[in-house]
């Protein structure tokens, strides 16, 4: 409206505002009027006065215009809401599918993000988290280098002295292969997380103290620091500081500090902590002196100076070690604290830890689920949009501007998305306990703490709403009312193509997940069913203490008196745990050319009943003799794998030993290979001998009948030998299942995800099918009149969907095959991925989708053509 060669000098901005404020139909003349008046004023007064007047007019107009605008907006909003709600009511099924599908997707995405966030937050809470690192050692082994989190006890203190970069060093050890008996008064508990550390641990890590001084808490050799939970267990509400705890019946420790419970997202977990001193060794299996350079039992953590480059410092350490002992094949690496939880899969460590792979996979799945849910939402909304074309036409005829139509449709999809978000948050709240038990981690749900997460989800919802609203908003609003009202829809084709792609991609993901889940499940079943080379059924074990251990033969005889106990044996380790100690195996006539790393073997100490009790098979030679117990280490039984590396015709009668060449024992037999580690690993060489000093566990084969009574009997017997000892027993097969805990959990999660994805995808398909059928009602009616049978019509309606599923299969198969092949590399013993799984998954998908659409297609096919042709 404004012209550049402006004869009127009214203020331009004011004129523009005025233009917008004035009633639509009179804008031109009124602006002219205002300008004329402006000129009149200019004739009498000066220019500023005229301008002021003009602006004044604008301001005077403002309140009224704003009021008008608001009123109309509200009126229209009311109308939009009414229409939206009417639409929801009219298409209840569709609305339900649309909203619940998105809500489920959002909720599961929320859970996954919650978990991912938790995984990523590990160890970040320490004040100096970015400056702390752990020393890992790398030991060359025949089967590839072994990286271990356990390093020698002397490393930390030495480094602190040698390198200015190290501000503080601390060693930490948790007693894993033994539960520590702690008593206070008449309260006795077996402590699993009994930690040993240097006093400097509280300088390196941030574990907030409730009571006590972190500087001095562990400075006394007999001091102990405990957590709140620990304190609660022994003292209830009483003041713990200064109380004296008895450890392993004879050692007194005085409580000098009470710290907050260790957060769940800390890789270091302990309930109590004592300083690392010489006297610890009298009651705990801590081998080597505090300053040993050869034995690897400790975790060493360093607090580095600010700005220290980890790479440069590693080099420095490396050079130092080479200078110290050029022969040493052990190398060190530094691992940042914040990467310990997720990037330690290859590192030998006993902590349960996360896996960055799983984080990536689950993030990806979360993304997929969300994508599918959003696709559905968009798909259904756009499918329904065509039925709104008439409404758009009418609105346009009545005089709706395009802008207001855009506003209406965006608003509507926002409303749907908002409802879905609310529903999703509801689902999250309700299912949170289930989620926690499923992932086995304490992930608290605190919306105020997870604001970023909540914000992220809201943004995603918003994006989905905008995306799904954009089609009807931008496309429908551009319809020519005449065409729409006449019933001509253009551009249906391109849209259909788009929708097909969406459906195909959904089912690709779903089929991929079905295959993945089945492979995981089959592998898991395979692991459980695999013959391990020994009998693990009905095996109960418990740790022996004091008198039980000293008199284990008598104890064993006593137990066997009960008819419920079939067999009993004593060993140094639990068969499932990799707590076998690996050392170098030497034998008479060993080829000096055999590398030390190639002749490593694990060893285990057992009694002569071991092989019989576990139903193992001796392939050569004989079992231990009765004398073996009197002459420890004199007799050796090796497994087939060890026999193989010896490369001799017959090992029987050969002298052999571990570590040194004293040749304390003679090989008397070869036992058939059995899986003494988890099935992730191959069977490696194993040496069995009788060393009563290392006996620790009693294994009992129990008749399944009268199980409870038998266990009561065992407990009674234990008490007879060791009155104070709390009896804790385990089943061996349960211990085995724990080995594959990570796989089991992943399997469960994948199972859940697959169901979810399939469900959401089916919802989408159902909605789409109903739409397709509806838009072809007339066609079906005419076909029926011309003589088409119902099955034929179901066929032509289903054909389209089957095509989708076929295409989805073609894409999903190679991707999931590649993916699962990679996953199976984690196992030494694995299933072959059979082509049948793929066919089964594809068939299942076809079946499920056919069932999903059948409701609609059958309904349409069996409808009376008269009704369908009369429709409208």
């Amino acid at each position: 409206m404004t012209k550049t060669n402006d004869p009127v000098f009214s203020p331009r901005i004011a004129r523009k505002i005025l233009y917008r404020l004035l009633p639509f139909d009179e804008r031109e003349s009124l602006i002219g009027d205002f300008d004329e008046l402006f000129l009149d004023i200019l004739k009498i007064h000066n220019r500023p006065a005229a301008r002021l007047w003009y602006w004044g007019q604008v301001l005077l107009l403002l309140p009224r215009s704003v009021y008008d605008l608001m009123m109309w907006r509200m009126t229209m909003l009311k109308n939009y809401l009414k229409i939206a709600i009417r639409n929801m009511r009219r298409n209840k099924g569709y609305t339900f599918i649309n909203i619940s599908g998105l809500a489920i997707g959002l909720a599961s995405c929320f859970f996954i993000l919650l978990w991912v966030q938790n995984e990523l937050s590990f160890d970040h809470f320490h004040e100096n988290a970015d400056r702390i690192c752990r020393i890992n050692i790398r030991l060359p082994r025949s089967s590839g280098d072994l990286v271990s989190a356990y390093s020698t006890s002397a490393l930390g203190p030495t480094f602190k002295e040698e390198f200015p970069e190290v501000v503080e060093a601390t060693r930490f050890k948790i007693v894993v292969d033994k539960k520590i008996l702690v008593s206070y008064g008449n309260k006795n508990f077996l402590e699993e997380k009994f930690g040993i550390a240097d006093p400097s641990i509280f300088k390196v890590f941030t574990f907030p103290f409730i009571k006590g001084n972190p500087e001095t808490a562990l400075s006394h050799p007999d001091s102990i620091v405990i957590t709140e939970n620990f304190s609660q267990k022994y003292f209830g509400g009483e003041e713990p500081l200064g109380k004296i705890l008895t450890v392993e019946k004879e050692h007194k420790f005085i409580i000098t500090g009470l710290i907050k419970n260790i957060p769940h997202h800390s890789h270091l977990q302990f309930d109590s902590l004592v300083p690392f001193t010489e006297n610890i060794r009298t009651f705990m299996p801590v081998y080597g002196s505090p300053n040993s350079f050869s034995l690897h039992f400790f975790r060493n953590y360093l607090l580095l100076k600010e700005g220290t480059s980890l790479l440069d410092f590693s080099d420095k350490i490396h050079n130092y070690l080479i200078k110290r002992d050029p022969e040493d094949t052990v190398t060190l690496s530094l691992q940042p604290l914040t990467k310990i939880h997720l990037y330690s899969g290859h590192i030998r460590d006993l902590y349960p830890r996360g896996n960055i792979q799983y984080v990536t996979i689950f993030s990806l799945i979360g993304f997929f689920i969300l994508m599918i849910a959003c696709i559905n939402f968009i798909n259904l909304t756009t499918a329904r949009a065509a039925s709104r074309a008439k409404e758009v036409g009418i609105r346009k005829v009545i005089g709706a501007e395009r802008k207001s139509l855009i506003r209406q449709f965006f608003g509507e999809s926002l409303l749907y998305a908002f409802l879905a978000l609310v529903l999703a948050l509801g689902i999250v709240l309700v299912l949170h306990p289930l989620f926690v038990s499923l992932v086995g981690r304490h992930i608290s749900l605190n919306f105020t703490q997870n604001l970023t997460l909540l914000g992220g989800i809201s943004v995603i919802t918003l994006a989905a709403a905008v995306l799904s609203g954009s089609y009807p908003a931008l496309f429908l609003s551009s319809f020519k009312p005449v065409k729409v009202l006449k019933g001509v829809h253009g551009a249906e084709k391109g849209k259909k193509f788009f929708r097909r792609i969406l459906v195909v991609s959904q089912f690709t993901i779903a089929i991929g997940l079905i295959i993945t889940t089945s492979v995981i499940y089959m592998q898991f079943k395979y692991l459980q069913k695999k013959n391990l080379g020994f009998d693990k059924e009905h095996m109960v074990y418990f740790r022996m203490e004091g008198e039980m251990k000293k008199k284990h033969e008598i104890f064993r005889e006593e137990l066997l008196k009960n008819p419920g106990i079939a067999k009993a044996t004593v060993t140094s380790s639990i068969l499932t745990r990799g707590r076998y100690v690996t050392t170098i195996f030497n034998w008479q006539g060993k080829d000096p050319g055999i590398d030390a790393t190639a002749s490593q073997a694990d060893y285990v100490s057992v009694d002569k009943h071991f092989i019989d009790a576990f139903g193992m098979e001796i392939v050569q030679g004989r079992n231990f003799s009765d004398d073996a117990l009197k002459k420890p280490l004199s007799e050796i039984i090796i497994n087939e794998a060890a026999f193989k590396i010896m490369n001799v015709e017959s090992p029987l009668g050969l002298k052999a030993d571990l570590m040194n060449n004293n040749f304390r024992g003679t090989i008397i037999g070869v036992v058939k290979d059995y899986n003494f580690k988890s099935l992730h690993n191959n069977i490696t060489p194993l040496i069995m001998w009788v060393n009563p000093y290392l006996f620790k566990y009693m294994f009992l084969k129990i008749h399944p009948d009268n199980l409870i009574e038998t266990l009561h009997f065992v407990e009674k017997k234990c008490r007879e030998f060791e009155p104070q000892f709390p009896f804790e027993y385990h089943f061996l097969d349960e211990a085995f299942e724990q080995l594959y805990d990570a796989e089991a959990k992943m399997g469960k999660l994948f199972n859940g995800f697959t169901m979810l994805v399939l469900f959401i995808a089916c919802l989408g398909l159902f909605g789409l099918a109903s739409y397709t059928v509806e838009s072809r009602t007339k066609e079906i009616g005419i076909r029926k009149i011309l003589g088409a049978s119902s099955p034929y019509i179901v066929g032509i309606l289903s054909r389209e969907f089957i095509g989708f599923i076929f295409l989805a299969n073609i894409v999903a198969w190679p991707v999931s095959f590649f993916f699962m092949q990679n996953w199976l590399k984690n196992f030494a013993y694995k299933i072959h991925i059979s082509i049948l799984i793929f066919f089964a998954a594809g068939f299942a998908a076809v079946l499920i989708s056919l069932l999903t659409v059948s409701y609609q297609t059958v309904k349409a096919a069996s409808a009376n053509p008269v009704d369908s042709l009369r429709y409208e």
Binding site: P7, E26, E28, S29, G32, D35, L39, D40, Q57
Partner: protein, 105 residues
């Protein structure tokens, strides 16, 4: 609504006087002049709109005028209905005045 207010009556009279040059500004200035004090645009425009909607005046757009930056004027003229109601009002008015004057004198 068939009745018109005082201001509306004034505006109708102004339009009748100013035709064919009756438009917002001229009406406003004419009334200000007669009245002897300035009158706001709104006080003219709002009744004008109402009168137009009620069918007392009709409007047409003039040819573009260079004075107004090429913008057209919305010119008003009276309809028969307006003339009728003005005359009716005047009759009532006059009669009332006459009675009143008689009483006074």
């Amino acid at each position: 609504m068939n009745t018109i207010g005082r201001r509306e009556e004034q505006i109708l009279l102004a339009v009748g006087f100013l035709v064919p040059e009756a438009y917002l500004v001229s009406i406003k200035q004419y009334l200000s002049h007669i009245q002897g004090k300035p009158i706001s645009i709104g006080a003219v425009h709002v009744p004008l709109r109402r009168l137009e909607r009620a069918g007392y005046i009709r409007s047409r757009l003039s040819d573009p005028s260079p004075v107004r930056g090429g913008r057209r004027r919305k010119l008003y003229s009276l309809t028969d209905r307006a003339v009728k109601i003005l005359e009716e009002n005047k009759r009532v008015h006059d009669m009332l005045w006459a009675k009143y004057a008689n009483l006074k004198s």
